[in-house]
Symmetry: C2
Subunit: 190 residues, 2 copies
């Protein structure tokens, strides 16, 4: 029997394809160059809308997404917004929880660990004196983000905990949120 | 006439309330302490789901959101995911575009500038050799994010451009993405 036949999907992860993908990238590292994209349109006040669909990766434009994904953002009423959607900073909390969880499901599958339940709660503390321009000593962004996982799976507690640690070590969102990255803005006024 | 009567909503922003909110925070800075939250549940494979609803701010638990906001994340098929939703890193692009746009609509209103159109496209370059564990020299996160605004409004081009610059200076998401922040993870395995 091939390895693929021995190790089918685990945790919903197609493990043979996961390893085949790693082998493909090893032999052609340039296919690891990806570009993700979003397009945002102002609606009214703090309310705006982002469409996410295409991206470049694996050497070509992706065509797998036949419908766009659409997400609004807004400020809540207490911050003089319309409350039509979460605030932009709340999407950072979604991003970190999602990235760590996606990664650990893959890592668990690769390690042969069956997961039963993965939940996380995320809290982000922010002092709005920064963004309101009322203090030069308070940063604009989160002062701290805390992610608390609860995991059940067929492995010892230390093995389950190690899944989170390995996911953190390979998390794109963790890297950006903790280390920062280069962000460039340009403006045209046609 | 009061200032409120003279300066009603502009760009959908209730300008008198915006200034009143600033005054309220100046006189009681502790109401600027906010905590945002999210709860994520693993679905299958790289697919997971975040619910966003409650937050603490202005001295109390917010109760304005009577329904939760729900967002999925996944990896695309080319990355062995189910493609049910954008990747976690694409939500970072939504967050930065949304934060800059919300801010500039408020700033424009405060400055008396009527906006007609604000659109932005965001691109993020990422080399997956990092997260795939195939290179120790490639970072896990975005190498660069670029945000390109197109703005029409009743002001000179340099005034419109200055709105983006001021929004950037007061953007919570810009701060986190460019400077990073403290992220703490804990795990329980009940």
């Amino acid at each position: 029997m091939t390895q693929a036949a021995c190790r089918p999907a685990l945790n919903g992860v197609d493990v043979p394809t996961l390893f085949a993908t790693l082998d493909a990238v090893k032999s052609a590292p340039e296919i690891a160059d990806f570009q993700f994209r979003a397009r945002n349109t102002w609606v009214s006040g703090a309310h705006n809308r982002t469409v996410i669909q295409g991206f470049y990766g694996a050497g070509q434009e992706d065509t797998s997404r036949t419908e766009p994904f659409t997400y609004d953002a807004d400020h809540p009423a207490v911050l003089v917004g319309g409350g039509h959607a979460p605030t932009p900073v709340e999407f950072l909390l979604h991003a970190i929880a999602a990235c760590l969880t996606s990664g650990l499901a893959n890592i668990a599958a690769a390690r042969g660990v069956t997961l039963h339940r993965v939940e996380s709660t995320v809290e982000g503390d922010i002092d709005l004196l920064g963004i309101l321009g009322l203090s030069d000593e308070v940063r604009n962004g989160y002062q701290q983000i805390r992610v608390s996982f609860v995991i059940n799976g067929d492995a010892r507690p230390e093995e389950l905990t190690a899944l989170v640690e390995q996911s953190r070590r390979r998390s794109a969102v963790w890297d950006v949120l903790t280390n920062g990255t280069d962000v460039v803005i340009d403006v045209s006024t046609p």
